[in-house]
């Protein structure tokens, strides 16, 4: 006897209770704190802030905890909260030349004003599992830090961006200016063709893994751009809001950001002599992989204005921008778990009918009649 599928409500409640229990894990083990996540899983928090497009460490940490460490789920939680927040205005562009730098490296110059600042990085570690971390070991040794250039005046001259150095010589294209105010991707739907500010917004929110794969593909010959890391820098920058009533900019606080300036070859054209071109990447927190991948993809997407041939996925604006958002992507992929039996029934009927017509002796349960 068929029993109608009832009780969905109770089942969902129970599933949620089970989820909460599973998330908590063994109650004999102390519960993980938001401050621990925010303070010790910093790169996860950085990624959630970046792709969640909301700079708020405690909220990102809360999202990671609630999502059981699933970062895309955490990004989704943050986005769903962010979208409800009112917009008071748009901050002034942050000046990364005035960054309180924690890390700044260039692959194009051995040394330059401000020097190479290695900062906290995995880059030069041996990837050997460290058993001493397993059992609450002693506090790590205090690192010696080089005195950072003071931001009270001296810092600006002391840590110029590498692209500014190249620009001084005219070797690199000037930063492409976009005349008008950039459109806001979160307030109006993406439309094509997208200009560069819109593309960069999209990439900044885009999935790290997707951009990594696309950036990687450009290195392997699918729209090769001959990139050099002009500079990757990570540190704090001040965020300022220009207040009309006051007539001057008011600092709102500081945010930690990573910026990548990629320097790429350009053969030149009839009008333009050979010069270097720019790819730009930017992310909240320390997100170097993301910022670098973004810079590679940004440069690849600029093929048209630089008169290059279109030959690869990373250059395809509609393809890249329509599929970069992991909240959209995961939703649509995972929605396949929702019931589709009405549509499936329609397909079943057709396949059975076509098979029957094909001469198979399958049981024919439905037939078609003219409406």
């Amino acid at each position: 006897m068929y029993v109608a599928v009832k009780g969905g409500e109770t089942a969902i409640r129970n599933a949620h209770a089970l989820l909460a229990e599973t998330r908590r894990g063994d109650p004999a083990v102390p519960e993980i704190g938001i401050d621990q996540i925010a303070g010790q899983l910093t790169l996860a928090v950085d990624r959630v802030m970046s792709e969640g497009s909301l700079y708020d460490r405690p909220l990102a940490a809360l999202a990671i905890k609630q999502a059981r460490g699933d970062l895309i789920e955490a990004i989704f939680l943050v986005r769903a909260f962010r979208t409800t927040l009112p917009r008071f205005g748009y901050c002034l562009p942050v000046d990364t030349a005035r960054m309180r730098v924690e890390r700044r490296i260039s692959a194009t110059y051995k040394d330059m004003p401000g020097g190479q600042v290695l900062g906290p990085t995995f880059d030069y570690t041996h990837r050997l599992l460290d058993p001493s971390l397993a059992g609450g070991g002693a506090a790590p040794a205090e690192p010696a830090r080089a005195p950072l250039p003071d931001d009270a005046g001296a810092g600006i001259a002391a840590m110029p961006r590498v692209t500014d150095i190249l620009d001084g010589e005219g070797l690199i294209e000037p930063a492409p200016a976009s005349g008008e105010d950039p459109r806001d991707l979160t307030r109006e739907p993406l439309s094509f063709p997208a200009d560069r500010p819109l593309r960069l917004q999209n990439l900044a929110r885009g999935d790290e893994g997707f951009l990594l794969a696309l950036g990687y593909s450009t290195q392997r010959g699918y729209a090769r751009t001959h990139p050099f890391v002009g500079e990757v820098r990570f540190g704090e920058v001040e965020v300022e809001l220009f207040v009309e009533e006051l007539g001057f900019a008011v600092p709102l606080g500081a945010v930690s950001v990573t910026e990548c300036q990629m320097v790429n070859q350009f053969k030149g054209s009839a009008e333009v002599p050979p010069q270097f071109t720019r790819g730009y990447g930017f992310a909240f927190g320390q997100s170097e992989r993301k910022a670098m991948s973004m810079a590679l993809v940004d440069r690849a997407l600029r093929f048209a204005e630089l008169g290059e041939e279109k030959s690869a996925p990373a250059q395809d604006e509609e393809f890249v921008l329509s599929h970069s958002d992991n909240v959209q992507a995961t939703g649509f992929v995972e929605h396949l778990k929702l019931p589709h039996y009405v549509d499936f029934q329609a397909e079943l009927e057709l396949v059975r009918r076509m098979r029957a017509e094909h001469g198979d002796a399958l049981p024919q349960t439905t037939q078609e009649a003219a409406e």
Partner: protein, 322 residues
Amino acid sequence: MNAQTPTPQAESRQAEARQAETRQAKTPAGMPAITYNFAYLDEQTKRMIRRAILKAIAIPGYQVPFASREMPMPYGWGTGGVQVTAAILGPDDVLKVIDQGSDDTTNAVAIRGFFETTAGVATTTRTQDATIIQTRHRIPEGALQAGQVLVYQVPIPEPLRFLEPRETETRKLHGLADYGLMHVKLYEDIARHGHIATTYAYPVEVAGRYVMDPSPIPKFDNPKMDDSPALQLFGAGREKRIYAIPPHTKVVPLDFEDHPFRVQHFAKPCALCGAHGVYLDEVILDDRGGRMFVCSDTDYCNTRQAEGHTGEMSAPAPEAAE
């Protein structure tokens, strides 16, 4: 959005008044307080969506881009429909939510619960009692009435998407009313299979102009869209599009003179209520090929059963039916 609904301004004032009573989640010190508006979306967003809806109603079948928001349920779970519903929902509305024709599928339950929590509106499973019906993949069997709004959840709003993946191209094709691609596709189906091999999301022409994706409803439901007294709104959240069929609009499924549009017809009636001419779900009873066919529209089926209709597998005693 029923007939009694006051002006949008008054509705918006009411909603803003409700905002004050909206539950405020407890947040630990150092975190911003988390509050949500009536029906979740802020009033500015609702206005933006209402403008898109009005435009959509003015140009039947045309896909209006709108600044879709992230919703607290995943893309693909009905975020477009939820945003449309949130934008038109007033405190006096009565909401029904179905998925696959049923009020009890998990997603229908979740979306109904969402509006119960965030808007506190009355909900129902009875089609004729609802002022707004949000649906995924079905149109209710019973005829809709003037004043009712049917809100469809749409995954891919572009009927030409699988023929031309680029939005820049498909917008051009719509602009030129160039639907040759679609006709060629349907023709190739017939040439290859002897049938038009589209069984759901069957494309329709709306008001003699735009070819429209009716969302993945079975083509069985397509005739219900034509000349419906209800307002039909379509929301695609991930794809950021809203479109509409105003009441009493001509909706014609694409076909050919020698291959007219036909709907599925089931050989047997519903096994529980004996209804003919309705869309049925196939339920597998065992692993030896045993199966039964029952109404996909659970409200329709339950109503008929309550009226005393029976099918071949109806329970002999009422207590065994549930």
